[in-house]
């Protein structure tokens, strides 16, 4: 086994991102979709950190801190929206919400 390098990290990041995308595209439960989005964000974070370490630039690490902070806020708002959706329609199935249909 060779040493764990940049390629491995990036592969993991890509795999995580793909899992996230598939989750967003295929799952109906809004909370699961939300979780999949979080996975995608963290996949992006992993890629940031990997590149930051490999080129020795702290900018990427700073960006990750931002993303984590924003994700926290987003989680609060997003969960609040899901709760509101549930109160409104007694379901969190994303396909049930088509009020913006043209």
């Amino acid at each position: 086994m060779s040493e764990i390098g940049v390629g491995h990290y990036l592969t993991l990041s890509a795999v995580l991102f793909t899992i996230g995308v598939i989750g967003v595209l295929t799952r109906k439960n809004a909370i699961i979709v939300f979780m999949a989005i979080e996975i995608m964000l963290n996949a992006a974070n992993l890629a940031f950190v990997t590149f930051a370490m490999s080129i020795g630039d702290l900018g990427g690490l700073v960006m990750v801190l931002f993303v984590i902070a924003v994700a926290a806020a987003e989680a609060a708002v997003g969960l609040a929206i899901i709760v509101a959706m549930y109160r409104h329609r007694e379901t969190v199935n994303v396909e049930a919400f088509t009020a913006m249909r043209g």
Binding site: V21, V24, L25, V94, M100, R101, G102
Partner: protein, 653 residues
Amino acid sequence: MTAANWIWLVPALPLAGVLVNGLLGRRIGKGGVSVIGPGVVGAAFAVALALFLELSAREPEARTLSQTVYTWIAAGDFHASAAFLVDPLSSVLMLVVTGVGFLIHVYSAGYMHDEDRRGFARYFTYLNLFTFAMLVLVMADNYLLLFVGWEGVGLCSYLLIGFWFKDRANATAGKKAFIVNRIGDFGFLLGIFLMFGTFGSVAFADVLPSAASVLEPGGPLALWICLFLFVGAVGKSAQIPLYVWLPDAMAGPTPVSALIHAATMVTAGVYMVARSHALYDMAPAVLAVVAGIGAATALYAATIGLVQTDIKKVLAYSTISQLGYMFLGVGVAAYAAGIFHLVTHAFFKALLFLGAGSVIHALHGEQDMRRLGGLKSALPVTYWTMLAATLAIAGIPPLAGFFSKDEILWRAWDAGHPVLWAIGLATAGLTALYMFRLFFLTFHGPFRGTGEQRQHLHESPPTMTVPLAILGVLSLVGGWIGIPPAIGQALGGVPNAIESWLEPVFADTHAAGTSQAVEGAHAVPPSEYALMAASVAVALLGILAARYLWLARPELPTRIGLRLRAPAAILSNKYYVDELYDAIVVRPYNALSRFAWRVIDDGLIDGLLVGGTGAVVKWQSRVSSAWQSGAIPTYVTVFFGGVVAILVYYLFG
């Protein structure tokens, strides 16, 4: 120099009257309007008279005044100014328009007295506007400005024919006049365009002197320019085939008929042809057409006038007939004679209309001669002035009509047109016949109206009778301005004043040797006396026949009508020309309009184009709105597909 600076006042004064009467008319009341309305025209007459005197004080060659008020259009090569020209020809017309116009304005103040304050102001606004437009027409120094006046008088004619527009027939008559005139004006415009294309200018000073050098005599250019201009004249001056509007135009107030449809506007065509004589001299074929149409119209309208029962309709057909004489005159290149007849006709025909108006006024709107009669004692001033005018139009010497009509007949004969002369002579007889029919039916014999009308018979107020009297004097002596050499010599060398006055304008025509009129003073051909005697004899014959038929044996015309049923029906139905036009022009045109409305407008434009555009947009939006399903997963899928497509493009493309 100084006189020329005052030229603009002549049209400006009536225009000021338009503004005052139109804007303040209701405030200053009927009294104010009846001072302002005639007053401005009278003032314009005074200025015109001053200009005329200024001209006559000069050498014949220097009798031209002009004033450019402002440059109206300057676009590339095209140039037109609002400029006025006062030369012998336009000064004569200015005097007629303002002089006769002033008398008719004064008369109108009496005639229209029963109108309410608002109608009264409106009437004088229109009448002043007409005077303004007519002055622009005769004073313009280029064809474009002339055309502005030409359209202006047409507009006023329309407004005044339909003055009592609450009656549908009057409004329809106004529209008819306007639309028929439009046909003529279209020809006139084409003529102006062609003229600009040929000469590069529309100013008289550029076009007329160079006509002889630019145009080829008898060539197609000269032919078409003159023909198109003449189409305009035919419309405005009510000649065959566009005369049909004038009889209907009698729907307007009677002074309007006198001013617009007898004395001034309808003679504009004659003026225009005379003004353009340099062009017409280059197109002898068109001159022949002018003379032929003039003679044909003269005879044709006279025969219709013979059987009309409406007093104003008789006068309308008489006007058409006399206009035909004028065109006969200018058509044989006797331009001065045509203008001379225009002037005398303005006197006696205005008088005839005003006299008829006085009769109608006295009988509260009765116009049917079958219900008039015996008005001689009740309306003495009207009677005597009408007698003067009727004798004048019949051509009895030494009244006005004799000299001018005879001049035209003689010149027609002299120019080698015996057929036209014969038609003119026959018309002269018919004129005497139908005019004295009108006269006898109106003033002699028993009164045929109702008893109530007889009770209220009254002579008109002085505002109406004084203009009648003045025009009566002019009808008596107006012809003396154009005494032919044949008589002038016998009287000890009295000159033909109007001919020598107009000579500077028409000089080149005389130089061309079309006639011996000017040299005629030296050798009077004996034929001239014979022609004169013939026309006087024919006129007397007409009068005697009228006396026999409608005074001595009043039952005879009815019996003739019963015997000759078919010709009588043709005449009283005016040769069915209105019906003919209705069938060949009006109805196909209406059908075409209906087609354009139903098929082209409703079907093609509204249905296919407007509706089709809407339908396409609607269909397209239905398709694209299907994309907005509102289902977030679908959006995300599409969005992701797009991201993948872009990535693939940049990574592998």
